[in-house]
Subunit: 298 residues, 4 copies
């Protein structure tokens, strides 16, 4: 089928190559003209503006956005609303908040446009050779786009998840689970590190990946990371977060679901961004007040 | 090689079959005579007492205990200490607390006996067809027993983890990680369940196992569980715990490692054992005291 | 000074009586005409509509809303915007979300109206005899209304907290702290309750209120609650929440502040609203899958 | 009554002065001879060894230990067992683990000695002018020593808590609650500190101590701390812990009580002792592995 791709970053570029491999026709654009030239060399039709991209697609058009969530997604959508025609389909493959997705679907509907939200997992490698995709859409719209997702996903790796919003919601929760699993693994290795024993962490992760209950892709990545730096001496334990974990906790609060593990995974990331904490200062000052416990002066 | 197995429960029985498959000679005993008869029919030499088992082994003997941690392990060890000879080797393959293991190794050493602690993961299926084993031992003792572990473990699925105690400690931490991963997965599905969307959980887990970041054996088991009962309507959410999670938290506290995810995984299990909580009553009573908020009468 | 009070519930009614005690002139209204009659008998000027209330006040008018946060506050504000005149002052003494407060202040400013946000603590008893108030306002507006707050608050119990929004934000955090303190106290008593010892909880709380580090008003309320029901046998541990705790956690997430204690206090309240959990079912099903651990059938 | 005091540190010295004020007769000793001289000048009978102290007391002797928990308490008890006579009473007023207390009581019983465990709260100021004491003892032993505790405690500030061990257990839980309350207060102030508002923390704490729900001695200490250093700029947020919080969490785990707030209060203290964490390194490395997210190099 024919697809227009907006955004040729690491994910978008790989998805285009993946689609081309499977015989799909892709018109692609990016704010970076170099990337447009490159993708044209790789077999896609390059477009140097969204307008050009849209005019190069047959109706009903299928336009896939693979751009950063937030303002950029909002801007691209604003432009798309002004150039697309009723019946056209817009896919948001980024990590948008599902609440934004629900609002945007309503706004596009007013213009007769269909909105599809796709959660994409598997990293850049997956985008290139077999992604994992979770797709929220009107059922009849999903039928139109299914061939593309069937081809670019790993076998059994795509799912129609229901009405619009369900794809991004599911991806959000996926990331929340990921936060919890990563923190669990990491806490385990810190306990090993502080223990009286002397483990070879790469060997431990490798062994755990062969037959243990906790074998997993994340444990394979752990093995890989330790193979490069056995004690991770070269990096600092600063854990950034990109939004979905926070949204998962907010959704849990909205739904009154206790989700302590996901919440704490996020909070320990936030803690890692601080060198010192005001919380700690208050507690230290209080201990000094009532017990005369010494404080650590700066 | 020749091995004596004490304990023919689900794990021990399968380990014996696994060893026999690989041409090892096994003398086996259990408090249940039926199990001894069965294992004899399956190719092992049956023994109807520990004494008989010991007398059927060549020195230096290798005796493997696969019995419940705690008092039973203690009792078997007491008996073994009275019948074994200097140079013999005792393997504890159960989920013993590593602190007990360290103490027991000292006690056996006084008798000239060697102690080996083996953490075993992979469930009963792994015990039968390829386990994951983490082995703490004196290096020269490990050399003697390695052939057995090489054969019964899945390829790359056994590891010499260092001095005595390190096997059980590592298995303990493995289980702590497992608690965290399971709770993370479970919180995610509860958020899905309470959401406005309508997911097919078996399909979600299956899709996540094909290309997503959180693909794992635990997610495969999640898929399997939902395939049998799509909304888990037949069971109650009572989460028992068998000790290693608690020991992991205690070790974290001893080592001053913050391990909130593992700790909360365990605490939510403990919470699930309570129908109502005194904590909740106190908070409800306090809210009534200061704000006149209604309490729920019994 | 002269004040118009909208809302004669438990809090509003008591605040009016408190203001009258101190010689202030109050025009008061409520959707419930009975309450208007009662307050008129108690010395205020009754008004049977917001319009009537507004017409009974000298300019610049000071109108205090003591109504439920959310839609009702929104509706009253909409009506006030249509009847007040530039220079008039609107006080929101309810538990509004500070984000709503910031937005509303902007909206009122467009009409030339001043907005004041007041966080009120101390319960209905405090409203009657001495409240604790935290007041966000433009400095020159605060000067106008300060006499009322000085009179109705307990000595040293009112504070000008800065620009608009700061009063509700501070009250929100106050409630977050309150959640954490209550949960800490409650967890402690559950540990006592499950222990091998046999404590008289009222006596314990009373003793702790005389000289211990944790003496506090909440511990006095704990003592009071146990004096009425020594083991809290008459109530269930269902812990409702009214919003501020959730907003505090959301603010902490927005500001990347790790606030595990406040977050967990809220999550344990949410847990108490569930009889059984999907989380628990998933974990129980997983334990059954890999270890053959029995599940509790329904 | 007549009391022998062992240990003239901040707590012990003040308790002696307090007892002398109320007309009790005190024989006191310490490893530091200077302190013995000082207390003799202040009205006690100085003793330069435990033996001398014991010989200066009438039978049945009442000997109060106010020494650090752990090895020193153990050593003093060993010596006391060799010099005391059946019927004598030993009071442990330190922060001993109640499990040690239960064991020690058994050991003393074998010698015919009585053991009393006293949890002491209120800090050094309380020790001097009115402590808060929780006393576990055999009932008939409590009767003998009650006059001393009645006099040295603040009014209503002493409690007979039941059998031996109950005093230290209750003090332990008291400290667990204290951890939770302190962390709740501290998290709240960190949220304020990171917010868009600009609060005067001393003024906030003072206002909260006048009429709010969270008024408490800890909030008074918070006010005091901020009065000395308005933003706590002079200290680092390093939060040490002295044992009781850890024991409370361990007791909660033993009793299967979910105590997330107390546990997290402790774990955030442990986190504050780390400049960087291995947990953080593992998570950062994993994020780099699957998403190409940049890590912070050392």
């Amino acid at each position: 089928m024919q697809i227009g791709m907006i955004g040729l970053g690491k994910m978008g570029y790989n998805l285009v190559l993946n689609l081309l491999d499977h015989g799909h026709e892709v018109v692609a654009t990016d704010v970076n003209n170099e990337q447009v030239k490159n993708i044209a060399n790789d077999g896609a039709t390059g477009a140097y503006s969204i307008k050009e991209l849209v005019s190069g697609l047959n109706t009903p058009r299928v336009v896939w956005m693979m751009v950063p969530a937030g303002n950029i997604t909002e801007d691209v959508l604003t432009e798309l609303k002004s150039v697309l025609e009723p019946g056209d389909i817009v896919i948001d493959g980024g990590n948008s908040n599902y609440k934004d997705t629900l609002r945007r679907a309503e706004e596009l509907k007013e213009k007769g446009l269909h909105f599809v939200d796709v959660g994409t997992s598997g990293g850049t490698e997956g985008a290139r050779n077999g992604a994992c995709t979770m797709i929220g859409a009107e059922p009849e719209v999903f039928e139109i786009i299914e061939p593309a997702f069937k081809d670019l996903s790993i076998e059994n790796g795509y799912l129609y998840t229901g009405k619009v919003g369900s794809g991004h919601f599911l991806k959000m929760v996926h990331n929340g689970i990921e936060y919890g699993m990563m923190q669990a693994i990491a806490e385990g290795f810190e306990i090993l590190e502080k223990s009286e024993f002397d483990y070879d962490y790469e060997a431990v992760a490798k062994m755990w990946n062969h037959g243990s209950v906790i074998r997993s892709w994340l444990m394979e990545l752990t093995q890989s990371a330790f193979s490069k730096d056995p004690k991770l001496e070269g990096i600092r334990g600063v854990m950034h977060a990109s939004g979905e974990g926070k949204w998962t906790v907010e959704a849990a609060l909205d739904l009154q679901v206790p989700a302590p593990v996901i919440a704490l995974s996020l909070m320990m990331r936030n803690r890692s961004l601080e060198d010192d904490t005001f919380t700690g200062k208050v507690v230290a000052a209080l201990r000094n007040e009532f017990g005369g416990h010494a404080v650590v002066k700066k």
